[in-house]
């Protein structure tokens, strides 16, 4: 499991797949998800295979999630905000 090396800062809570996840204030959704042990953020739109954050700097588009109903958002570029509803982007959602 991933660990945090320093003491707790201010915490922001959002939900991922209906579960509550705690993020440090100012950090991205992808970082918070990885810290919570969630490495899978979407399914491939081609094969349905699971994918997760890869580059953490906005270039690979592997961490696409649905935030508050809007698909194709980059979890590694978006700072966690209190109350966000975040879901995995599944292949069914995009190719029904």
């Amino acid at each position: 499991m991933p660990q945090r090396i320093d003491g707790s800062g201010e915490t922001v809570r959002f939900t991922f797949e209906g579960r509550e996840v705690a993020a440090r204030a100012g950090e991205t959704l992808a970082a918070a998800l990885i810290a919570a042990g969630e490495t899978t953020t979407r399914d491939s739109v081609v094969s349905g295979a699971p994918r997760g954050p890869f580059c953490m700097m906005g270039v690979c588009y592997e961490c696409l999630v649905e935030i508050d109903g809007v698909p194709n958002r980059q979890a590694c570029m978006i700072v966690a905000e209190p109350g966000m509803t975040v879901n995995r982007q599944t292949a069914d959602e995009v190719v029904a």
Binding site: P2, A35, M57
Partner: protein
């Protein structure tokens, strides 16, 4: 539409230094950066990291604080969270910020978008739990996140830097699987004498290796045929080293084969590029002041060829001085900076020779996925070439390689290499994908609203 003497895209060391210098020379300057805070990737979150975290990230990371402070104190305007999605031939820049698109006009444009990690296609590299080494560093810099079972795979200074940072953070990597072939040391040795001018880098390199050894991290050298195993996430990494097949169980693998210039903007603008055999990457063609083949378009920092953070800062300043000089403003003294820049670059030929990308990554097996977005394998690319597709753009049209949301960032170089090898040519002749806007995916509704707010506001 607002207009600036200089618009800098990117707020890493090059962008910050360039903007600071440009505004000091009296030029109206705007910096657009997509991250929430300045620093780029190398100095990511430098303004908010506490002394503890700075200590474990090392002295060089701390350098970023000085650059960021000077940037903040300068007259340059700074817009964070600004995603540049188009720049036209007149240097009109469209960017997205706060859910809306805005446009600004640049008299001179400075592309300071740095580097990205080289694509590393290998079996299993799309599994969740596999990241780049850069990603692991970003997690440490921004969130203090470490892994107890991290296996670092690949080659390059960043691999060793990440390892020492993890050790300092109290979470040494489970193993380092290094892909540098033994023969490379002999080949690279001829660059050693020249590299001594950059003794500081060499000393840092040896210190990092010593730290890894001291921490007892197993280092598997001369590793090849690497495969990442797992069904729905990584469970292990396997490889051949020392003549035997080995397997390490882990849920976290970080890959690295060096960094390469981020070409998206210079390609979009049709700047001339060349393939650099030593860096094994495409570089925009620039003059001694880092001006591209398009007048008034400059590349500062690693985007013009990998030189590292110190070099990026110096190059950023040189670009600003050149722009100021051109419009007749008083510019700083460039000569001394150029000497320093040359000295700083002395170590590069050695690093480029020693840490050239692994053969397996340049020529992946047929079954290996190369385009992650559209799931196109190396074999499919070779088949398209056999059918007569002459280059990356035809392979893209034919197979959809490079057509997904990453727009070829994660496969472009690998695709050029594979096509070149299949045709018996060089990447230089087969060239690279044409890059089309938007540079990053853009909501259709945002395009529809373009120009709706009049007068257009620019930076706040």
């Amino acid at each position: 539409m607002n207009s600036y003497d200089v618009v800098v895209v990117g707020a890493g060391p090059a962008g910050m230094a360039c903007a600071t210098e440009a505004s000091r020379a009296g030029l109206s300057t705007l910096v657009l950066d997509e991250q929430p805070r300045p620093g780029g990737q190398i100095y990511r979150d430098i303004e908010v990291s506490d002394p503890g975290r700075r200590a474990l990230l090392g002295k060089d990371y701390g350098e970023g604080a000085r650059i960021a402070e000077a940037f903040r104190a300068s007259k340059a305007e700074y817009r964070s969270g600004a995603v540049v999605w188009n720049i036209d031939s007149e240097k009109r820049i469209d960017y997205s910020a706060g859910g809306r698109s805005h446009s600004v006009q640049a008299k001179s444009l400075v592309v300071a978008t740095g580097a990205i990690e080289r694509p590393t296609p290998m079996p299993g590299w799309t599994l969740p739990g596999v990241t780049t080494v850069g990603a692991v560093q970003i997690l440490l810099k921004t969130s203090g996140i470490v892994f107890e079972d991290l296996v670092l795979v690949g080659s390059g200074p960043l691999l060793w830097l990440a390892a020492t940072q993890m050790i300092a953070a109290g979470a040494p990597p489970k193993a380092i699987v290094e892909t540098v072939p033994r023969s490379r040391y002999r080949e690279a040795a001829r660059h050693f004498a020249k590299a001594l001018r950059g003794w500081r880098y060499l000393a840092k390199g040896f210190a990092m290796m010593r730290a890894v050894k001291k921490a007892g991290v197993p280092v598997h050298s001369d590793a090849a045929d690497i495969a990442i195993e797992g069904e729905i996430a990584v469970t292990a990494v396997t490889f051949t080293s020392g003549g035997t097949r080995q397997r390490i169980e882990t849920a976290h693998v970080a890959l690295h084969q060096g960094v390469v210039p981020n070409q998206q903007i210079t390609r979009l603008m049709n700047c001339k590029h060349r393939f650099d055999d030593s860096q094994r990457a495409f570089l925009p063609v620039v003059d001694e002041s880092f001006e591209t083949s398009i007048p008034g378009v400059y590349v500062a920092g690693d985007g013009a060829g990998i030189g590292g953070a110190k070099s990026a800062e110096m190059r950023g300043r040189l670009v600003a001085m050149r722009i100021a000089e051109k419009v007749g403003n008083r510019a700083g003294e460039a000569a001394k900076l150029r000497t320093e820049l040359a000295k700083d670059a002395a170590v590069r030929p050695l690093l480029e020779a020693l840490y050239a990308p692994a053969a397996d990554v340049l020529a992946p097996a047929d079954a290996t996925m190369v385009c992650r977005c559209e799931e196109i394998t190396a074999g499919q690319i070779r088949e398209a070439v056999a059918l007569g597709a002459p280059g990356p753009n035809q392979v893209k049209s034919f197979l959809r390689a490079g057509m997904g949301p990453c727009q070829g960032r994660m496969c472009g170089l690998a695709v050029s290499e594979i096509i070149a090898a299949a045709k018996g040519e060089t990447p230089s002749t087969v060239d690279y994908y044409r890059i089309r806007p938007p540079l990053k995916p853009l909501l259709l509704s945002e395009l529809a609203g373009l120009g709706a707010e009049e007068p257009r506001e620019a930076a706040e």
